[in-house]
């Protein structure tokens, strides 16, 4: 298997990480060597194996549906990169 530059551009779009040409080439090389290493898994036949989704063999506990954190709006927006006491601010999305 080989990951080409077109695939890198596609993954970069899906990951919301912009990469320039030079970086894309480096990433293609890195990812190819990592995937060569990962291909080893194809040696194993796993048709009848159940996938393991969690090692914690317990069912999720139920709890009562009550509000525990009240009036924390200030705390929530405190770390937002652009100041506004009530909302998160993003670049304009509607023309």
């Amino acid at each position: 298997m080989s990951i080409d530059l077109k695939t890198i551009k596609h993954i970069s779009k899906l990951s919301r990480i912009s990469v320039d040409e030079k970086r894309a080439e480096k990433l293609a090389g890195d990812l190819n060597s990592i995937f060569d290493f990962i291909e080893k898994l194809n040696e194993l036949k796993t048709d009848n194996v159940e996938p393991l989704t969690s090692v914690a063999e317990t069912t999720l506990k139920l709890r009562s549906d009550e509000v525990k954190s009240k009036n924390i709006r200030e705390q929530i927006v405190k770390n937002s990169p652009q100041d506004n006491e009530d909302y998160f601010v993003v670049p304009k999305v509607i023309e």
Binding site: I3, T7, I8, I11, S12, L14, S15, R16, I17, S18, V19, L27, D30, L31, S33, I34, F37, I38, E39, K40, L41, N42, E43, L44, T46, V49, E50, P51, L52, T53, S54, V55, A56, T58, L60, K61, R63, I72, Q75, I76, K78, N79, S80, P81, Q82, F88, V90, P91, K92, V93
Partner: protein, 485 residues
């Protein structure tokens, strides 16, 4: 003063309890040594002024019934600490000040400990050498320009260098045990579900666990007793009966069955590691334990499985860093452009690489071939351990395939860096507890560790085996204070 920092946590607790030392004496001593140790680059954020205030307050009204009375402690910068900057070693969180506290650190402060500061780590805990941190390399106190391991590299360096009496790290694929091995310290990765993940910056949620890093096994047991609690705020926290690990610690391991997995004898492993392992086997025999050869046939598939599962979960967890709600933001022409620039400038190369691997293996058309396949192999790996534990009580292996390496030695080859975690990764995939203890030195005088892997929730047993072995090994860490001018 320097004598204070040489003491173990257990000794410091005793000294404070019988009033030979005050919290202020101890806190000052560790701050002074930390101030002289800037070259190690172990800290990202120091909180010394506030630590001295807390020590003063503690001494005015000391509660000596607590488990960590007035003990200063620095923690890995992956734990959210209320009102103290928490970066996860990343530029993208360089200005993040949590408004809440992680459960694990909350448990520590409740028992009387005092925060000294936040310790360096690989960015989002992704690394095996602490070289991916936005805040620079960490030096290993063992030798100049030697990596301390990773991702809890700052934590390992700080404990080995006596900048903190003990610390807490996190381990997703070996991030506690590998740096412990590289620095001649003890590191425990508890059973998945033992320590709450609430308030820990997430890397791979099905693998992440917090755990203690200490100078000796008893200290490690004491901190484990404090940090391991059931927590309703973490849906994967498990409600099981936890031991009083330090009180129940015993070196009597007579009759215990210890498994030796033949698959851990990997190609190209240095003879020194094999010799160390054999010595370890002899030690447990001398303690009256029985050695049993076992097989974990899917061991060599663990790393490829890990490098699908962990990046997949990371790509999902790190989607939250978008420049909107907190953290760094780069300016963009529109919303999407802002996201893409923020993440491109905010994340380092290794984190970007792993997000891209994870995105790829989860993307349409590849999910079954990679992610589902990896989950199935993960099941086979867990089955191997389940089978083995029908015959044995614990498993003994080397912690790492080599001793610490030089800074820059492996940065250009991601796969060779990943191979560092070959002995530690299977334990995370199976959700088991594992402890690394220092067991000897290589020809360069660098420490080497042995790992004891236990059954799920059997931390007490592996701590006991580690305790018995520690006594036999009688390891002395060779710290020359080379960085202190």
């Amino acid at each position: 003063m320097s004598d204070i920092t040489k003491k173990s946590l257990t000794e410091l607790v005793e000294n404070i309890k019988n009033k030979k030392l005050s919290s202020m004496d101890v806190t000052k001593a560790f701050i002074e040594r930390s101030e002289k140790s800037k070259e190690l680059n172990a800290y990202i954020t120091e909180d010394f002024t506030s630590a001295l205030d807390k020590a003063k307050k503690f001494d005015q009204k000391p509660n000596l019934d607590l488990k960590l009375p007035g003990i200063p402690m620095a923690v890995k910068d992956l734990f959210c600490t209320k009102d103290v900057k928490t970066t996860a070693g990343s530029k993208i969180l360089n200005n993040f000040v949590p408004t809440y506290e992680s459960t694990v650190t909350e448990n520590i402060w409740k028992e009387g400990a005092i925060l000294l500061g936040k310790l360096n780590c690989d960015e989002f805990a992704m690394g095996s050498s602490n070289e991916t941190s936005f805040f620079g390399n960490v030096q290993n106190p063992i030798d100049k320009d030697l990596v301390p391991g990773g991702s809890s590299g700052g934590s390992a360096s700080a404990v080995a260098g006596q900048l903190t009496p003990i610390t807490i790290g996190t381990d997703t694929g070996g991030s506690i045990r590998q740096p412990a091995s590289f620095t001649g310290t003890v590191g425990l990765k508890p059973t998945y579900g033992s320590c709450s993940r609430y308030g820990i910056v997430a890397f791979a949620s099905s693998l992440d666990q917090a755990g203690p890093m200490a100078q000796n096994v008893k200290d490690c047991a004491l901190l484990q007793e404090v940090v391991s609690t059931y927590d309703s705020k973490d849906s994967t926290s498990i409600d099981f009966k936890r031991n009083q690990y330090s009180k129940e610690l015993t070196n009597n391991i007579k009759g215990k069955k210890i498994g030796i997995p033949k698959e851990y004898r990997v190609d190209g492993m240095p003879k020194e590691i094999e010799d160390l392992w054999q010595k370890g086997i002899q030690h447990v025999k001398d303690c009256g334990a029985e050695i049993i050869d076992i097989s974990l046939p899917h061991t060599s598939y663990a790393l490829p499985t890990y490098y699908i599962v962990a990046p997949a979960e990371a790509s999902s967890n790190l989607a939250r860093y978008d420049g909107v709600k907190y953290g760094f933001r780069a300016n963009g022409e529109n919303l999407i452009d802002m996201y893409e620039k923020t993440r491109s400038e905010g994340f380092g190369a290794e984190v970007q690489r792993r997000i891209m691997i994870g995105t790829y293996v989860l993307s349409s058309g590849y999910y079954d071939a990679y992610y589902l396949k990896a989950q199935k192999v993960r099941k086979l790996i867990k089955n191997d351990f389940d089978e083995a534990y029908k015959k044995v009580d614990a498993i003994l292996t080397p912690s790492t395939p080599s001793s610490a390496f030089k800074i820059g030695e492996k940065t250009n080859d991601p796969v060779s860096m990943y191979l560092n975690d070959i002995f530690t990764v299977p334990v995370n995939l199976a959700g088991l507890p594992g402890i690394s203890i220092p067991a000897g030195h290589d020809s360069k005088g660098y420490p080497l560790g042995l790992q004891i892997i236990g059954k799920a929730f059997d931390e007490q047993n592996i701590l006991n085996i580690a305790y018995a072995m520690e006594e036999k090994i009688d390891f002395k860490n060779k710290i020359t204070d080379w960085w202190i001018k």
